[in-house]
């Protein structure tokens, strides 16, 4: 069932103080607003030393020699460590999240500009940085592989000669769907449209860069690591496996995190360097990368070169979609995705449409660029998938001379088809697309916009209206299908109600700004009727929380949110038994009204959850077989992913003289199932939409032909400001997930996924008078001008 609702009210209505779901201000904000957040770089320990990393200035070279003597002689330097030294410890290489290995410090070759070559530990950050300049590295330059299209050319130099018998730069081939069936549909279709579509390399660029403080206690061999991690438990287990440290002696703490967007899922060499630094010096060691290090060496995202093809009937029934993808994974395959999904969840490229067939073939290759392929607010490559389908559907609309909304509506999966199995094997849990689309059209005033556009076009003005409709797959995931390096993607949760009726809920997921301390308190509040203000959310510390895989891929609410609801219900079940004893009636005669149990038919006889908590810990009798205390623990294994959807409409104006794009309006109608805190959801949507403007119009990590990264600072890698974005217009529909205990679906990444195609579609629509059917991101003025002159260029 789908319900639609009015647009949200203004800010003044954000703080209703609900006992459960509803608008309320974020519990964590007072400390952030007052500058009292506690980030990794705020951690100061007595005797703490500082680590700085020497990085390769070139993209591909053999290391001939490294002379560290001058650096070692620096009066404030405590240690200088090279790859050779790490080899002795067995730590020169480490596993990536996708079955490859990555060097911690280069031993044989450097394979991308910015790669870690050596590190220094010194008394302060300045001395550590100064000492880097005293290290003398001799490089023997090699030809780099920069153009991904040439990576598999027989003449291309082999980047990964460290891998046994490796003769080329091939990583994997992957396919999904039915090739023959798809070919058959294409062969007999009225209309086939194909387009080359590039999703350029972008970077998560969180406000806080990556870093850690490693404190290794030599006496009892205990490691405490404060680190910028979206997945503290997974990291702890990996450190145990890689470094051979016993897991119970490792404590990973993620304090406040200043944005992650997937970039803080992997383990980076810098963390290992700091740990080694602490082990060799016996002192705590801090490593915080600077902005350039963050942009040039930590996980990038996207970098897919896609050929999209779509087959349809002349009257606009889409029959099949096919794509061929060349994926640039950089120098090491560091993709962060469940093991069985080397291309993440790209398989949902069939979108929101009911197709007869679909097929994708992908080849992934090494290049001399930074490794990564992180889930940058993309729910594991769904950003690429949605961009592909939503762009190619618009290309079809262009060829059919059909309104893009009309074309989409004609092909939507219908409500009675859910659960819907796509031609690539994904089972969409629930959806009702048309009301969402209609809501967006209504908010935008779509027909009126089209009229305005016609008038402006007649005057030579360039106005564009872009539409996208997305279905996401979030909440990884069922442990039978999904694991990361063998760790199942189920999440634990623990809830303890104190004697006075206050509570603490402990979770494995880690907020990077999403408002977990509020949302999870509200989920628990809704179930047991304790006000959110009375519920503490503890997260980000492996010693304090149950095991789970962390926050990325919009999985916190679908997985840990379900765990929080279920653990609260478990506590409520116990509370019910205690209440029956207190009220001297049978359990069946009790009725739960949020916060209290009443005797059915006699509302005067009731006990509150607070009364029950006191009884559970008190001296009085408890019903037979019931232990004291009021707490529970569970581990939630999701039955399926959840599939949020949304309809986005973007209006742009382009200056015909300068080709500058102005985003005039943006309407986003999201359906993420049950809405826990609408204000937080809107915040997530605003963030993602802003992100979309960045990717569509300005962001790109580019390289010159020698492999120098051209996006190494925020002067070069542009991210949008308030001046580039319009006043966001948001709306929603509610189609609950049938398998999630409270019907919620993830929303953290919806807007990042859905907005780029809406913006690009709008720009392309504006350029229709020039006969433009496609233009690649980033749509900078220069690139838009190329498109206007009929020479659109791919960005790579």
């Amino acid at each position: 069932m789908t319900t639609t609702d009015e647009r949200p009210a203004g800010f003044e209505n954000n703080d209703h103080k609900p006992i459960g779901h509803g608008r309320m201000l974020r519990k964590e904000d007072p400390r952030f607003i007052r500058g009292k957040g506690n980030y990794v770089d705020d951690v100061q320990l007595p005797g703490m030393l500082h680590c700085a990393i020497l990085r390769s200035p070139v993209a591909h070279a053999r290391i001939v020699s490294i002379d560290t003597s001058a650096a070692e002689a620096h009066p404030k330097v405590k240690a200088v460590v090279t790859g050779a030294a790490l080899t002795g410890l067995g730590l020169a290489w480490m596993p990536t999240l996708s079955g490859d290995v990555q060097s911690v410090l280069a031993t044989d070759k450097v394979r991308f500009q910015g790669q870690e070559v050596a590190f220094v530990v010194a008394e302060d950050r300045y001395a550590a940085r100064d000492a880097l300049e005293l290290i003398d590295v001799e490089y023997d330059l090699l030809d780099p592989v920069i153009d991904v299209r040439m990576a598999l050319d027989p003449s291309a130099p082999v980047i990964r000669d460290d891998l046994d018998g490796k003769q080329n730069n091939h990583i994997f081939d992957w396919e999904t769907g039915d090739e023959a069936a798809t070919e058959a549909v294409f062969a007999s279709a009225d209309v086939v449209v194909s387009e080359d579509i590039v999703y350029p390399r972008v970077h998560p660029a969180p406000m806080e860069t990556c870093g850690c403080v490693a404190d290794y206690d030599r006496i009892d061999s205990r490691l405490t690591l404060w680190s910028t991690s979206q997945a503290p438990h997974a990291h702890r287990t990996l450190y145990a496996i890689v470094a051979g440290l016993p897991e119970h002696k490792i404590r990973v703490i993620s304090p406040d995190i200043g944005g992650g967007f997937g970039g803080k899922v992997p383990i980076y060499p810098g963390y290992v360097c700091a740990i080694v630094g602490s082990i060799v010096t016996g002192k705590p060691v801090k490593w915080m990368e600077d902005r350039s290090e963050n942009l040039t060496s930590t996980g990038f995202a996207r970098d897919y070169i896609m050929r999209g093809e779509i087959a349809a009937t002349r009257d606009g029934k889409i029959l099949a979609v096919r794509t061929n993808v060349l994926a640039d994974h950089g120098a090491f395959n560091g993709v962060a995705a469940p093991v069985k999904y080397p291309a993440g969840f790209f398989g949902v490229f069939t979108g929101s449409y009911d197709l007869q067939a679909a097929y994708c073939k992908m080849t992934a290759v090494y290049t001399n660029k930074a490794p990564g392929g992180v889930a940058y607010a993309c729910s594991f490559r769904i950003t690429e998938a949605v961009y592909l389908i939503e762009r190619i559907v618009d290309c079809l609309a262009y060829e059919l001379e059909m309104d893009p909304v009309e074309l989409r509506m004609r092909n939507f999966i219908q409500p009675d088809q859910f659960p819907y199995r796509t031609k690539t094997g994904w089972v969409y849990d629930s959806g009702d697309y048309e009301p969402t689309m209609r809501k967006a059209l209504e908010l935008a005033g779509y027909d009126e916009l089209r009229r305005e556009q016609a008038e402006r076009r007649a005057r030579g003005e360039l106005m564009g209206i872009g539409v996208s409709f997305f279905t996401e797959a979030v909440g990884a995931g069922p442990r039978k299908d999904m694991d990361i390096l063998g760790l199942g993607m189920a999440d634990g949760c623990e809830l303890r109600v104190h004697p006075t009726g206050k509570a603490v809920v402990r979770l494995s997921v880690q907020s990077q700004g999403q408002g977990h301390e509020t949302t999870f308190a509200q989920i628990v509040a809704e179930e047991i009727g304790i006000p959110p203000a009375d519920i503490d959310v503890v997260h980000g510390d492996t010693d304090q929380t149950p095991f789970g895989l962390g926050t990325y891929g919009s999985r916190s609410t679908p997985v840990s949110g379900a765990a929080a609801a279920l653990v609260a219900r478990k506590v409520r079940d116990k509370a019910r038994i205690i209440a029956s004893g207190m009220l001297e009636v049978s359990v069946a005669d009790l009725e739960w009204v949020k916060g209290a149990f009443h005797v059915k038919g006699d509302p005067g006889k009731s006990v509150t959850i607070q009364d029950i908590a006191m009884r559970a810990h008190g001296a009085g009798d408890l019903p037979e077989g019931i232990e004291g205390g009021l707490e529970a623990q569970i581990c939630y294994n999701p039955e399926n992913l959840t599939y949020p959807h949304g309809a986005y409409i973007c209006v742009v104006d382009i200056d015909p003289g300068t080709a500058q794009v102005k985003v005039r309006r943006f309407v986003a109608v999201d359906d993420c199932g049950t809405r826990i805190n609408p204000m937080i959801i809107e915040g997530q949507v605003h963030r993602g939409l802003t992100d979309g403007v960045g990717m569509a119009l300005m962001e790109m990590i580019a390289f010159d032909e020698d492999g120098n990264c051209l996006g190494g600072s925020l002067m070069d890698y542009l991210i949008p400001t308030a001046l580039e974005v319009p006043d966001w217009e948001t709306g929603f529909t509610v189609t609950p997930s049938p398998h999630h205990p409270i019907g919620a679906k993830g929303v953290g990444e919806s807007a990042t996924v859905g907005s780029p195609p809406a913006i690009v579609n709008a720009v392309v629509d504006a350029l229709k008078p020039f006969g433009v059917r496609h233009a690649d991101m980033p749509l900078t003025p220069s690139r838009v001008w190329d498109a206007m002159r009929g020479v659109p260029r791919p960005p790579i």
């Binding site: 940085r129 902005r291 300068t658 001046l723 580039e724 900078t780 220069s782």
Partner: protein, 291 residues
């Protein structure tokens, strides 16, 4: 955090003190004004001076905008924000306010200075284009006294000026002539970014005819210099769309942009034409609105 190399630091208490320090310390010393160009370079270790001479305490002495009958004089320590907010300056030379609206962001504008902008001599720098457009001259002071140079003489090449080791820029002088107005146009990839291309124009009308006109471009070549050919083509003509178009074409021909992340050389050349037209059109419109 990006950290610069070790550096000695001293605050100058007067212009003479600053020049004395420069004389004593020689080429290993650099003046720091707003620091918004120098400090980023030091953090990236593209610049590693041994000594920094901080002239921010000279704001009292060198931070001023004096609008006089025949000349405007602006001190080198005048901050972007002061240039933006000066109504008096906008009255005579609206090009300043146009440009300052789109230079960097408020944080940078609060500290960055006119002197620092000009002495940085970045080919994409906007105030240099403004000063070139207005035919400004630069007052440089050293141990031996002051000398005055034109903008053309001031620029020696990218990041290179006529200011010698033991000298500093103290003032900019701009002649005021009747019947004129000016405007600035900039295209950037994002607010606060450096120009893809910018163009300034100043026009003086006399009886409906262009008595003089100047155009200054930024980010389209190694140097921000005037375009004499454009001035020659405009002088003595009546303003018209065709004339602006012609001037734009000349400007596009005269510049030598390169392809980079901001845009292709072809696009930049196109912008030089388009923005020259727009700036001229707006300058003339402003004169007509006023008269």
């Amino acid at each position: 955090m990006q950290v610069p190399a070790p550096v000695e630091y001293e605050r100058a208490t007067s212009v003479d003190h600053a020049i004395g320090l420069l004389e004593r310390l020689g080429g290993s010393a650099r003046i720091v004004a707003g620091g918004h160009s120098l400090l980023p370079m030091m953090k990236l270790r593209l610049a590693s001076p041994e000594y920094l001479i901080d002239i921010n305490d000279l704001h009292g002495e060198l931070g001023y905008i004096r609008v006089e009958q025949t000349e405007v004089r602006i001190g080198a320590m005048t901050r972007h924000r002061e240039l933006l907010e000066s109504g008096e300056l906008a009255e005579v030379f609206p090009v300043f306010r146009d440009a300052e609206r789109v230079i960097a962001d408020p944080v940078v504008r609060n500290r960055g200075t006119l002197g620092g902008s000009l002495c940085q001599a970045d080919p994409s720098e906007d105030l240099s284009a403004v000063c070139t457009t207005l035919g400004a001259s630069c007052v440089i002071r050293g141990g031996a006294g002051e000398r005055v140079v034109t903008m053309e003489e001031f620029y020696r090449g990218p990041y290179e000026t006529a200011v010698e080791d033991a000298e500093m820029l103290v003032e900019i002088r701009i002649p005021v002539r009747p019947g004129g107005s000016s405007a600035y146009e900039k295209v950037e990839r994002r607010a606060g970014d450096w120009a893809i291309v910018s163009a300034g124009a100043a026009v003086w009308l006399d009886g409906g005819v262009i008595a003089d006109a100047r155009v200054g471009l930024a980010a389209v070549g190694p140097n921000t210099t005037g375009l004499p050919a454009v001035s020659d083509a405009l002088r003595g003509r009546e303003p018209s769309e065709e004339l602006y178009e012609h001037a734009g074409t000349l400007a596009a021909e005269a510049c030598s942009p390169v392809t980079d992340m901001r845009g292709s050389a072809d696009y930049k050349r196109h912008l030089a034409r388009e923005l020259t037209r727009r700036a001229l059109r707006r300058s003339v419109a402003r004169i007509n609105e006023r008269d």
